[in-house]
Subunit: 189 residues, 2 copies
DNA sequence: CGTCTATTTGAATGTACTCAAAAGCGGTGG
DNA sequence: CCACCGCTTTTGAGTACATTCAAATAGACG
């Protein structure tokens, strides 16, 4: 279970045996049942989550009551409301599970301590954040220049197989269209 | 000129006199004329830019030839194609000046060296990236849940006075609508 | 099974776009 | 200093993409 996590760290920084053992000892395992809520908007996001198996969604519920998914997190993705976590302030987003999901979590104080103990991790999370930053830029650009049909095709490329695992209404929410319209797109595809 | 820059660093990390002097010595000043191009898509983004005065835009030109602005950078903002810069690979975005603009630039190798010399800066840029990350999340959420009219109102709040400085077609490009439609929205406002 | 939610289908509507033409504005050169 | 050229903005008509509403069907879960 922790091997996936360590492999993820190894993508950007080299860790020795002691460091790996230390990191292993700090992450906590949690099983999140399908549809269970890991973070509710308004609460403080107290941990970052690494998805070992399953899938999380991070989303915002607007005043009309409709959800908009900002991030889908299948295996090996990190999920956190970064603004809430880094300032330990109330969250704008909620996080819930789309399938039964195994997550490894790391609390705020623990991570701040880790930055002191293993400064390389500062680098790791800077790079991780940069990559996410870059992905969001591409998504904005895609939302500005592509039609719903094109964005749907991109979703299928970027998340292969995920379409079979989660409901259409969640895909529609990620794409920024209505489930009704997605159904129509699929019919004509 | 460099005081704005140092004040920006001071927002997230504390620097001593020596460190400040060292940082001052490494940034280079450049004046970018209105409409001049600082980075062309396809080239490698070799530096990060801090805007001292004026305004930059970062944008993508799609296959149809239309531009989509991903970021507007007035005074005290940082601009860089992060993906191109961090991997020193060809850029997806271009950067150009919307007004005559004073920028302070820091080259790739210089920054990597700085991370070694002053590890606190790793922290600074992690936080800077986290903040940008969070802003992009909000922009995606806004694009998904708000109409063009609402997004225009948000733009006016988020960039007060900027509307008077740059052309409507660039505002439209940032909002993801056509200049024609923006003109119509303003008329009805 | 029965209930609840998700998906499909169709019709009417709305938001934003394209195309085209006119008007406004800014810079440049004579 | 004015006239001209090119680019931006405005205006209007017609169109396309995506939504809402409503009802029927299909699936999931206890």
């Amino acid at each position: 279970m922790l091997d996936h996590l360590l492999a993820n760290f190894a993508l950007h920084v080299a860790l020795n045996t002691d460091e790996r053992a230390h990191i292993r000892s700090l992450f906590q395992h949690r099983l999140i049942k399908k549809n269970a809520i890991l973070l509710s908007a308004g609460d403080v996001c107290r941990a970052i989550y690494f998805v070992h198996q399953g899938c999380l969604r991070m989303y915002h519920t607007d005043p009309d009551g409709s959800d908009h998914i900002i991030q889908l997190c299948p295996e090996d993705w990190w999920s956190v409301d970064i603004s809430s976590f880094s300032g330990q302030t109330p969250a704008f987003y909620s996080i819930s599970a789309l399938e039964d999901t195994d997550v490894l979590s790391l609390g705020y104080a623990t991570l701040e301590g880790l930055y002191e103990q293993i400064p390389k991790l500062e680098r790791f999370f800077r790079i991780l954040t940069q990559n996410g930053f870059s992905l969001y830029q591409q998504r904005i650009t895609s939302n500005l220049s592509n039609t719903a049909r094109e964005r749907y095709a991109l979703f299928q490329e970027q998340y292969p197989k995920l379409e079979q695992r989660i409901s259409q209404k969640h895909i529609a929410s990620y794409l920024g269209i209505t489930p009704v319209f997605l159904s129509m797109l699929r019919k004509q595809a």
